[in-house]
Assembly symmetry: D2
Homo-oligomer: 145 residues x 4
């Protein structure tokens, strides 16, 4: 499990007075960003400038349990639900702090593509190795699609 | 079907050089906003200030087919996929213009709640009537959950 | 004068129930984007991929007259206040529709730089020509810094 | 001086590959939010639900020194530049970490208004007391406009 924390901000609230629903995706993607930087041991700016592969979203999904309000501190928990040959499924939980109550769940599915032409390609070995180093997949995991 | 159009903006692009994935949810929700204003024949600011009921999201889902780039004109098509007693499922298609190529699909599921306490309640009759007036549900539709 | 129109969206409202103050900058920059595409007669995605020069902000400023609420239709008026050798000052007015009441003013100052290294350089001739073609600067204007 | 830290996120980058200019205002306002919660010793959600006064922006201004890129850690320093009878000027510096290099400066001017009708009113005593408790204004400061 990989965990980050975030505070809900004034501009992230919508006209209904709660965090805009799409913010859940943003919060979880921010956790993904920190995890990716750690898994690859790389500066993200450099990664996006130089990498020959990318991980665009192919599917995103969110379930909402409770409204999230201004100033709420959130803990975002990332787990890998499935690793395919060319894609990876991340499962997130959005949890209030300090109450520990789950506000919602998010699933993000990324596909690996060549930077040139966005052509699907296998997940690179260094990414799999990074997932293992962070304990997000067991050392012996085999990829399959 | 209810249709709106939107142009992809400079600040909506992410570090990968394409529209940030969560923007798809935003674009479709904007279509929902225009549809709601029309269905209820109401000013939205007034609606959110005075209404005793609200329509928070309980589920959101998106599939991505093609990257969306800066300046792209999009047509967003909204259909009602299902009307329950207390919830409504909207199905959206995000289509490039003028090429007509689908970039992605979005599903947004809203639940109806009392403004006070966020307690689930039946969809109000005026909302159902508005959906019918816009041709989004057939005149004879019965609600069921 | 170059004019665009925009509608204030649900997610652009903050916890105080009005459009988040920084949205004014966004609305005006969107007008800039449309103007730039017209001035250069270019697709913006292609411009940002291929251009050897860019126009980053060096200064931004906004005065707020009246709160802007959800669903408000706005007319954004862009004028060029000053053209220097290496920079250009745009003056914007944010006006409610249909009431015609000014909500605020924005000034955006862009500097011209080489894409490589962000080194200041003179405004390119094709940009000046585009401003003239749109009537944003008089045909005889001379640049000075 | 009141200080917060923030990391630049993937979705905050624009098509030019750097942090969108209006993000500077957002980062500084987030510092303001944390400062306000501390100065009033209050939960912000409760403050915006119950307070009889508010602090809308009347002016915002930013100078840009250096592009800010993805993943950059920033330190935001807030100082009070001036306290008037009905308004307060905050001066912010946006500084890279760990390099210590200033990326830009922001000024935000807030006016105090009654929640009902947005009518200008004097800054409340509890706010002035909070600024003093945080060391943002000297204990003996007198307000003037």
């Amino acid at each position: 499990m990989f965990i980050t924390r975030v505070r809900v901000r004034f501009h992230e609230i919508d006209r209904a007075g709660i965090a805009y629903f799409a913010r859940s995706f943003q919060y979880c993607h921010e956790t993904f960003e920190d995890m990716l930087a750690r898994a690859l041991d790389v500066d993200l700016e450099r990664f996006f400038r130089e990498s020959t592969w990318m991980l665009p979203l192919v599917h995103a999904e969110s379930d909402y349990r409770m409204p999230i309000v201004l100033g709420q501190d959130l803990r975002i928990e990332l787990k890998i639900a499935r690793v395919g040959k060319t894609s990876v499924h991340f499962a997130y939980r959005i949890i209030g702090e300090p109450d520990g109550v789950e506000r919602g769940k998010v699933t993000l599915v990324h596909s690996c593509v060549e930077r040139q032409g966005f052509i699907t390609r296998p997940l690179p070995d260094e990414l799999i190795a990074g997932f293992k180093a962070l304990g997000l997949i067991p050392p012996e995991v085999r990829r399959k699609d």
